[in-house]
Symmetry: C2
Subunit: 367 residues, 2 copies
């Protein structure tokens, strides 16, 4: 194999496929990036057997070939080369020279045929949206998945498409995060559970531009995200997702409207009094135009107060401050509405159109 | 005690004294910041028994007093308060309220009299220089101290003043870093060894402004740095420093002039082939107008070449790349001169005026 491409293009491609290189694995070959120079196209591929990424790098092929090369070392080498054209050349014994101006690295590569190829996905069941929208709905929900591998379904997110409506749901038993999105056209009905870890990596690759489109293809065991020069493949989680509609339908007794930043700062202040070991709630108490927040731990205590608008009866209720903080962090609105029933029922943070719904269970605050 | 000051002033003071709060200690009181509100002045003090810092915070004293408060919690609390005036009030049981707008933290403080006071230094033996100069000579040498506590003297830096000349030296048995500085006037003769760890912290407090002056006072067991609102005290290391003058005087057989950035990048490239465990040298070989660099490890190999100007005979010599990299990082010159004798003798990187001298011992490169 002999190829030539600019350092900038090569490094951009490496940074994308690095997202699916496993940190620890018993299969050494997975620690490699596959370089495929065939059919007049240079492609980089990575695969951790859950998530697979393939991206095209613009360059010239002098001699076709397929090799695998340790991802960490390869990326370090390219990163430290001068900003110029890079030549990668492998001989029949897989000795590989990476040359740029007067710098020449030599390293031993692996046979590319050992590398597990990505599954081929039939491109029939498709949904198209902007990279911006996809990235937003992932980032705005994925923090609510569970990291407990014993309950596999909770480690994933529900992707549900009904005609031109899409809903993404993440939950962990203490909270539910929901984002609703209107699609440009009717794409059909799909319902799959995508691993949260994969979505986290995918959100880092998505450009976040409203003008860039991404095609999502659904297969039996996989989902594929097709970007301009990159395809990302994730295995799906098998099983039936939780029925959440009943949990989300609710009346309320109290509605609070509050400045998001002020509430965030106040609860953020409270969190510094929490040690890892003791899980103390932040207790909030409404009055007609103000909200009192109280936190009391072995370190010390905080009394805080912020201005609110209130409808309905007064309430005292306790929450894990982390759950509130994480929801507030992904809401763009300046002012938010919080809906409450009583001190034992979940609170809802949601907008009028229900584009977002964050349900958070209260915790007992009587010590 | 009851005091009031702006959050910005208080936080600036806390950030300064935090540098002398020990991370781990058996004396709990040292994990505190001492707040002294006496004689119409608010002072914050920290002391890890090697390094002590005292800084003045502008504010109002409603009631004088001295308390000690856990440094980490106190700094976290103040950092997260709104940007407004902060009131700190302690009752007779040392219950302390930290109030800012409608936020009120409560925390238990400690009796300030338990806190070890900083020693009082007689201000007779003085040297004055700009904060910029002091910070520069520390940063440009302190990386060459040894972190081996078995040889205490190598963990410190020599501060040597002779009339209007100052010399700072750090060495670790494999290399020597020297910076020479001309002072504005004749301050007398002093020679002390200052702990490198303390100097590292001091360099972070110094403003780096050429217009700000720092007074340095010498005492038997201590050195004191007096800034505008802050004094920093360090214990000295006892003993006789190494005689380095003979090591520094040398003829040379080869002189190389090279672009610093190009040499840095090339050696930086070589370092990525080094694993923690195997200490491989970078081998450099001169030709008339070029320098070849070679690194060969179990990971792979690098061949590199940069343009140089050369006087004298050709040479092949090996170095620990880390030592070259660290010296190049603190040299401001665009082009540097390297002086060599043979493959077993130290190399010198120094400027014509010998404002800086970096001596680096070679390593055996025949495997």
């Amino acid at each position: 194999m002999k190829i030539k491409c600019s350092k900038a293009n090569l490094l951009a491609g490496i940074n994308i496929v690095l997202k699916a290189v496993p940190v620890k694995t018993t299969m050494n070959i997975l620690e490699c990036i596959l370089i495929k120079a065939v059919n007049s196209q240079i492609k980089l591929v990575s695969n951790d057997m859950e998530l697979g990424i393939e991206t095209v790098v613009v360059g010239d092929i002098a001699e076709e070939g397929v090799i695998a090369i340790n991802a960490k070392i390869f990326s370090d080498m390219v990163r430290k080369l001068p900003d110029s054209d890079v030549t990668i050349e492998t001989d029949s014994s897989l000795n590989t020279k990476i040359t740029c101006e007067k710098s020449k690295f030599s390293i031993s590569a692996k046979d590319g045929s050992e590398f597990p190829e990505l599954p081929v996905i039939e491109k029939s069941k498709r949904v198209t949206m902007s990279e911006f929208s996809l990235r937003s709905i992932i980032v705005q929900t994925v923090f609510s998945i569970s990291d407990n591998e014993n309950n596999k379904i909770m480690t994933g997110e529900l992707f549900e498409i009904k005609g031109n409506k899409m809903r993404v749901v993440a939950l962990d038993g203490h909270r539910i995060a929901v984002r609703n999105l209107e699609l440009k056209e009717d794409f059909g009905n799909y319902k799959v559970i995508v691993p949260g870890k994969a979505l986290n990596e995918i959100s880092k690759i998505l450009s976040g531009e409203a003008d860039d489109e991404v095609n999502i293809y659904f297969a039996d065991k996989n989902i594929m995200f097709e970007l301009e020069d990159t395809i990302i493949l994730s295995r799906l989680i098998e099983g039936e997702y939780y029925k959440i509609d009943q949990m989300l339908s609710s009346d309320f007794e109290t509605k609070i409207t509050v400045n998001k930043r002020e509430l965030f700062n106040s609860i953020d202040r409270a969190t510094l009094l929490i040690k890892e070991s003791d899980k103390k709630p932040v207790v909030i108490e409404t009055a007609d135009q103000s909200l009192k927040l109280k936190m009391d731990t072995s370190i010390g205590s905080l009394d805080d107060e912020i201005m609110i608008e209130k409808e309905g009866k007064d309430i005292v209720i306790g929450f894990n401050p982390k759950f509130i903080i994480e929801a507030l962090r992904v809401i763009d609105d300046e002012n938010i509405d919080i809906y409450l029933v009583n001190s034992k029922s979940p609170c809802f943070i949601r907008d009028a159109q229900q584009n977002y719904i964050y349900l958070i269970l209260p915790v007992n605050f009587v010590s």
